[in-house]
């Protein structure tokens, strides 16, 4: 049984995409909230400065001669160009520095949930870790977290540089080959949070999305408990399981508990329970799943999965049924 994420899968995905209110200004946790506050302070302060400069420019252009005379000297430069920025910038710098060290990830303390996420061209491996950093569950393209708990992400790359960014939960952090970068995120409210690769990584970089699903701690416990291979009951799905191994799918994908152990593509053990397909770009339903299998190149050109146009309707249906049941 699937743990209940907020809302139906399709609706949840659509809601996650919504860009209004702007995610950067609509924080959902303690690693994004202070930045939003800073952002508002910067926008308001910046607007005031812009208005002042425009006013000065207007005085210079249209002002009375008395006003113009006051503005027209080195004193204006010393006040407007030197003294004012130095004072304001010093204040901002102190705020920025203290916020930086407050938000930056340190060493694991044992209090947080740990996950390793590895960027791939053009999807994400997700490895849930225990407190000691040992791998527990593998998944792809979606991250489930409990609300109210800090999550430390260990970010790596398998190929080129990617950047992990879920704006409502925190800032972004690059995934650089040969390095492990740490990023803290936390969601204080249940929901689905959209992310996207922010460092240009070639080809379909534009279509490399990611979802974070935050559950209440109870729901999260239920979700975690449901992470075991589901039995195959329906005969059509059983045929799909056989096809999965014979048609080539198994060469690139893992489905735990079966002979499908390919490592090149995303782990599909729980693909049926995902909210999205193609790395956060399609809602997950039998139609999109079948469409993705038949010709993912038409949906996400350049991705590493070849099209399976040769599959007949019945085969496609069987495969879809099988995969949709992997929950």
């Amino acid at each position: 049984m699937r743990a209940d994420p907020p809302g139906r899968a399709d609706a949840g995905f659509a809601r996650a995409l919504e860009g209004w209110p702007p995610p950067v200004l609509d924080p959902a946790g303690p690693y994004s909230e202070p930045v939003t506050l800073l952002a508002w302070a910067l926008f308001i302060g910046g607007t005031i400065v812009l208005v002042v400069v425009l006013a000065a420019l207007s005085v210079a252009l249209f002002g009375s001669s008395g006003l113009k005379r006051r503005l027209g000297g080195e004193k204006a430069i010393w006040i407007g160009g030197i003294a004012f920025p130095v004072v304001v910038l010093t204040g901002l710098l102190i705020w920025g520095l203290s916020l930086t060290s407050h938000l930056a990830a340190g060493k694991p303390t044992g209090q947080e949930m740990r996950v390793r996420i590895v960027g791939e061209m053009w999807w994400w491996r997700v490895h849930y870790l225990d407190r000691q950093g040992r791998e527990t569950v593998r998944d792809a393209n979606e991250l489930h977290i409990p609300t109210g708990m800090p999550v430390m992400l260990e970010l790596q790359s398998a190929d080129v540089i990617h950047s992990f960014w879920v704006p409502r939960l925190g800032g972004k952090m690059d995934m650089i080959p040969g390095r492990t970068n740490r990023l803290m995120i936390q969601a204080d409210r249940p929901g689905i949070y959209k992310g996207q690769c922010a460092e240009y990584c070639g080809g379909p970089h534009a279509l490399m999305g990611f979802l974070v699903i935050a559950h209440t701690p109870e729901d999260f416990a239920r979700w975690k408990a449901s992470r075991r291979p589901a039995p195959i009951v329906d005969p059509v799905a059983r045929r799909g399981a056989a096809l999965f191994e014979t048609s080539g799918c198994a060469a690139c994908h893992v489905i735990r508990g079966t002979r499908a152990q390919g490592l090149a593509g995303p782990d599909l053990t729980h693909v049926g329970s995902r909210h999205s397909l193609g790395a956060g770009i399609l809602p997950n339903n039998p139609g999109t799943l079948a469409g993705w299998i038949a010709d993912s190149q038409a949906i996400k050109p350049g991705n590493r999965m070849p099209p399976y146009r040769q599959l007949g309707a019945e085969d496609l249906n069987a495969l879809t049924r099988y995969l949709a049941g992997r929950q």
Partner: protein
């Protein structure tokens, strides 16, 4: 300091001279400086021509890259459009950024320098006209071929900052990336050539009496610009070399699996890349500071503060590069430093903005086309500066970085800081080079369309970024609310383009180019020397400068200059010549004989382009031939130079006599060589940095180098080379043979040192493909080998001149410069021998 060179400033009182000049003097000047006809136009070297060609070509690239921008805006107007397929879009945005930054912005400001500086300083030309011609042709031919790669689908697609490993062979196997790396090679060459030209020109070719504090602000800005190029470009030169070597020969500089590090590229690229922004901005700010006093009809307020601000910008800009890397996981201490520096750099920008406003305030500003563009530029630039302060704050940058917020920010800065000032400059200076000024009426429309279009296009991008839209995406999913801001941006981009098209129409109607054939003149009432009556030889005579706006303070100046009542009213030697003055107070020092038209710079440029392009498409035989021909062409063009005339000293007006040939540290050639050596030194320092960076970041891949003590034969050879090079100059007093012999010994010793050093490393089991350590180590050696190869060529050239009896005694410029270069090669060799051997011990 009353006098810098022993020149008596009282002598300036002799000018303007009274007695009339013979009429035929002016005819002779015209004859000497006249341009070749027909096909021979390709051989012109005069800055009036090269400057216009240069600016025109840069503007062409602005238009081409602008068309690419429009294509992108159409593709992004709605979600999931298929106007540009993914692969094309990725090439198009890469080319848009690359062409705008490398083929438009830098060359455009450099071209403005080539065109305006001699006029502003009242020099007859820039110090090395043939170098200008070469730099221009290499840029024009190379740039156009590079752009054409787009039409065959081979354009680079890794983004303008080309991060490896995406751009490494493994993930970009095609030659697209090589096109980028080699295409950038031309720009590097022309930028460095231009920088040398400008440094020497600004410091040594000013009109007498134009001390540094009387220099036009634009000259100051170009001086800072050129010095910044000299410091910053070596980093990207080295970076592109390393990446190309990694791609071609599999040396793993950036491959983390073999002890390289992709972060090394980011440091090398941004150490260039951020100063680059100020490299573009400062000259444009200099243009603003020239135009605003004229628009306001008032002296610039805070001249000294502006100069200080420009120099400060230059310094601080070298401490901000890592603000492009706040999301790479640098420790908070490091990001804190770069955050502080990035905020600090806004102070000098603020100084300039308030100086402009204050200048407008004390004057009576006119709302003519240049005036509108400078005012618009202030508004746009300030907006971009404010978002710049925002992204300088690390936590905010974690959100904004690589999102459309940054796209908005950078376009505000570059449009306000460079494009609008450049358009102001077009309107302002076109009367100087064209018989007709631009239309004021159409100019207002152009401004309105561009200003409104710019804001409509880029303002919504701030919001798109906050809505989570990353940059460099070829499409986006519907339902994210990104549709509206993107559609508005597209509409704005089209408005902006309409403004540019209107400008082009006006340009086609009104631009009448006729260097030497008259111009519209000083219609705005500018006060600086470029508004004197000029012909191809620049001004008839070279005035004595006593103020910053000489034309405002001496109403008779134009007439007196034109009547030849100042310095050099004629050609003293019957050749092209200009006055070289001292760097601080601009006291007359000697007469520089200048080269005339020549086909060889053009030929050298064509073969240089052939060399790079053939290497890109892996036609190695053709490439090599081209390279050799390019070297021959360069040597051939230099062969005519450094020939003293038979006159010891000549009268340059007012009975003041200066020599026609000088050697030693005061000469323009010496200054240029020192500048070039700084460039080479910076390339080498960045290579040392690469070695040390990989050492500290990839210790697991580090092998112990051979013992430093075993390096003594190499060091001995290098010391021999160094001392022979240093001895060559004094030896010339004994004889040409002894001196040339010393040069040849030096070159031979240095070449031997390279071979011995290479064999010692390979004997110890080091191979370049093995690891980041070995790759960066052999990169040091490759650099040294390249420098020594050039040194050998120079020694051969020197020997050939000695055989032909062209080496003057007791001193000679060609010998001086060859010896300097060899001495540098010796010094670099010693550093390169010791550094990688001592590095491990230091740790």
């Amino acid at each position: 300091m009353r006098s810098e060179t022993g020149f008596d400033p009282e002598l300036y009182a002799r000018f303007p001279t009274r007695e009339p000049r013979p009429a035929e003097e002016k005819d002779e000047l015209q004859r000497i400086w006249c341009a070749p006809k027909g096909w021979e136009y390709l051989t012109v070297v005069n800055n009036n021509y090269i400057g216009i060609y240069y600016l025109g070509t840069a503007f062409l690239f602005f238009l081409l890259a602008g068309v690419l921008a429009l294509l992108m805006r159409v593709q992004l107007a709605a979600p999931l459009l298929d106007v540009l397929p993914q692969a094309t879009y990725n090439q198009v945005f890469t080319m848009h950024g690359t062409v705008m930054m490398f083929l438009f912005a830098v060359p455009a400001v450099e071209a403005a320098g080539v065109l305006l500086l001699p006029q502003m300083l009242s020099a007859r030309d820039l110090p090395f006209p043939r170098l200008s011609a070469y730099a221009f042709w290499a840029y024009a031919v190379g740039g156009l071929c590079f752009f054409a790669s787009l039409f065959v689908g081979l354009a680079p697609d890794g983004g303008w900052f080309m991060y490896p490993p995406l751009t490494s062979k493994a993930y970009s196997p095609g030659i697209n990336t090589d096109f980028w790396l080699l295409g950038i090679g031309f720009i590097e060459i022309s930028a460095i050539a231009g920088a040398i030209e400008i440094i020497v020109g600004v410091l040594r070719h000013r009109a007498p009496g134009m001390s540094l504090d009387k220099m036009p602000i634009f000259a100051w800005s170009m001086l800072v610009f050129a010095v910044m190029i000299v410091i910053a470009f070596p980093s990207v030169i080295l970076g592109t070399l390393l990446l190309e070597i990694e791609r071609a020969f599999n040396w793993p500089f950036f491959d983390a699996t073999r002890g390289g590090d992709p972060m090394l590229w980011q440091h090398l690229f941004w150490f260039f890349g951020h100063p680059e922004v100020y490299i573009i901005f400062l000259p444009a700010a200099g243009l603003m500071s020239m135009i605003i006093p004229t628009v306001a009809r008032a002296e610039l307020v805070g001249y000294r503060l502006i100069v200080l601000a420009m120099v400060a910008t230059g310094f601080i800009s070298f401490g901000v590069w890592a603000h492009h890397m706040f999301t790479t996981g640098m420790p908070p201490m490091t990001t804190g430093f770069f955050s502080a520096a990035s905020m600090a750099v806004s102070v000098p920008a603020g100084i300039q903005v308030f100086s402009w406003i204050a200048t407008l305030a004390i004057g009576k500003p006119r709302f003519n086309a240049p005036g509108l563009f400078v005012m618009g530029s202030i508004v746009i630039f300030v907006t971009g500066g404010l978002t710049g302060v925002m992204v300088a704050l690390v936590p905010f940058d974690w959100q904004a970085h690589d999102s459309y917020f940054i796209v908005a920010h950078l376009h505000y800065v570059l449009m306000g800081g460079m494009v609008f000032p450049l358009f102001a400059a077009f309107y302002y200076w076109i009367p100087m080079v064209s018989r007709r000024a631009m239309s004021e009426r159409i100019g207002k429309w152009v401004f309105a369309l561009m200003f409104i279009g710019m804001n409509v296009a880029f303002m919504p991008m701030h919001l798109a970024g906050l809505m989570g839209m990353p940059r460099r995406i070829y499409t986006y999913l519907p339902g994210q609310g990104w549709e509206l801001p993107n559609l508005i941006s597209t509409v704005g981009a089209l408005m902006l383009a309409a403004g540019v098209v209107l400008f082009l129409i006006d340009l086609a109607r009104n631009f009448r180019l006729s260097p030497g054939g008259g111009n519209a003149g000083n219609i705005y009432g500018g006060g600086t020397l470029e508004w004197l009556p000029t012909e191809l030889y620049s001004t008839r005579s070279i005035p004595v400068v006593t103020s910053r706006e000489p034309l405002w303070y001496d109403p008779n100046l134009a007439e007196n200059v034109e009547q030849g009542r100042y310095f050099l009213p004629r050609s003293a030697t019957g050749l092209r010549e200009t006055l070289v003055t001292s760097p601080l107070l601009a006291e007359p020092q000697y007469l520089q004989i200048m080269p005339g038209p020549s086909p060889w710079p053009f030929a050298a440029a064509i073969f240089t382009a052939g060399f790079f392009l053939a290497l890109t498409v892996q036609a190695y035989g053709f490439g090599l031939t081209s390279g050799v021909l390019a070297v021959i062409a360069v040597l051939r063009w230099m062969w005519d130079t450094d020939r003293p005339v038979a006159m010891e000293g000549v009268d340059i007006g007012g009975d003041i006599r200066v020599p026609t040939y000088m050697t030693g540290p005061a000469t323009h050639g010496w200054w240029a060589m020192i500048t070039l050596l700084v460039v080479l030194g910076m390339i080498f320092v960045m290579a040392l940095f690469s070695n040390a960076f990989l050492w500290s970041n990839q210790p697991a891949f580090w092998a112990s180098p051979p013992a430093p003590a075993d390096a003594w034969p190499i060091l001995a050879l290098e010391l021999l080379g160094l001392s022979a090079a240093l001895g060559a100059r004094p030896l010339l007093r004994r004889g040409v043979l002894a001196s040339t012999g010393a040069i040849i010994v030096a070159a031979a010793a240095l070449a031997a040192a390279v071979v011995v050093d290479y064999r010692q490393w390979t004997a110890a089991g080091f191979l370049p493909e093995a690891s980041g350590q070995t790759a960066s180590l052999f990169a040091l050696q490759a650099l040294q080998a390249m420098v020594v190869l050039i040194a050998i060529l120079m020694a051969g050239y020197m020997a050939a001149r000695a055989l032909r009896g062209l080496v003057t005694r007791p001193s000679n410029n060609t010998l001086d410069l060859t010896a300097l270069f060899l001495a540098y090669a010796g010094g670099q060799g010693i550093a390169g021998t010791l550094f990688p051997r001592l590095l491990d011990i230091a740790g």
